[in-house]
Symmetry: C2
Subunit: 211 residues, 2 copies
């Protein structure tokens, strides 16, 4: 039974698509959706615009794929649950460290996401509802169990996550401002380490999770 609609994509095609997606992520991160032209993405990928359109038939199509890659990556790496037997302190510090590593290693992805959400998440909305929301509810439920078990103080689980997200994402999204105020041409590993230890300390002490 040979398939007609869906052929196996060749290795070359996969490689070319990945190349385009990487370029698109960078340009979208810097200019947002409306500010990004197909031409500029193609140039960044080193191919002609028309050839790129062969791989991604429309701009919105391309943008969707970029967003989906980002969210897949994040949700995969940011599962709070997994080892739910671990103690709050180590789980939270691992979570913070993990999110900061994402900001460090995928700053473009973070900015594309930021652009999208600031603009009201017109395209991401469905995906957020179907994928992020359930995970968020599992994670906040776990935090509530911690509270009931007396492992941490009675705090608002939702806002706990909002602050952790904001405090980690800022090192990707607002990097230009932070660099400027730290008088550095770029954020270094030591800055991420300082951010991680500061944030972890603040949060753990703030919710009474130390010791």
């Amino acid at each position: 039974m040979t398939e007609k609609t869906t052929r196996k994509p060749s290795a070359a095609r996969i490689q070319q698509e990945a190349r385009i997606l990487r370029a698109a992520e960078e340009v979208f991160a810097q200019k947002g959706f409306s500010g990004t032209s197909m031409d500029s993405v193609a140039e960044a990928a080193g191919i002609s615009k028309q050839n790129m359109i062969y791989y991604f038939s429309s701009k919105e199509n391309l943008y969707r794929r970029v967003l989906q890659n980002i969210l897949d990556l994040w949700l995969e790496k940011m599962s709070f649950i997994e080892d739910s037997s671990a103690e709050p302190a180590e789980m939270i510090s691992a979570y913070i460290r993990g999110k900061l590593e994402l900001s460090r290693d995928y700053p473009f992805a973070s900015r594309v996401f930021a652009h999208e959400v600031i603009n009201g998440a017109p395209i991401l909305k469905e995906y957020l509802i179907s994928h992020l929301q359930p995970q968020f509810e599992r994670d906040t439920a776990l935090v509530r169990r911690w509270i009931e078990a007396g492992k941490i103080d009675p705090i608002d689980p939702e806002h706990l996550f909002f602050v952790i997200w904001a405090g980690t994402q800022t090192y990707a999204d607002f990097a230009p401002q932070i660099q400027l105020l730290l008088n550095k041409p770029a954020l270094e590993q030591s800055d991420f380490d300082a951010a991680a230890s500061f944030l972890t300390q603040i949060v753990l002490r703030g919710i009474g999770a130390e010791h």
Copy 2:
């Protein structure tokens, strides 16, 4: 001695300019600089594009003015110093409350600023260096004095501000995501109150500033 270059701007002109600036702020917040067309701003302001160009001769011009208004407002309201005799706990909680009020009352301004910084602050850079940086250095210096006086634990003053900024700004910039996860059509006063008390508690306990 009558002036030729600078005439007194009429009340009508000031009003019209303000009207345009308000509209521009909203559109820039939603679409970013490149994604915003002069036409769409004019439409939002209820006048013709050509007439708007009479008041703001170019798009960049208009954008600069919007940014400047925002920064002026923020720096004016966000001086950490002023009453430097106050105790750390009350100063920090007032600061957090003030910044959250800005997020609540001027969400568009916050988003325009976010767009600009994410894009590398190409236009804001000079202004940040000349206005934000000095204030930042005064504020971090004050925090260092608190540490030396034993009023708070020895923490990293820079990262303290980064976290406070991120944790307050997120309620403007990422409002769509937060609304979605809270299952609310819009953020209410109670949400800002919850955010304020959570953030304040976390930060004050985190740096040992309570009591």
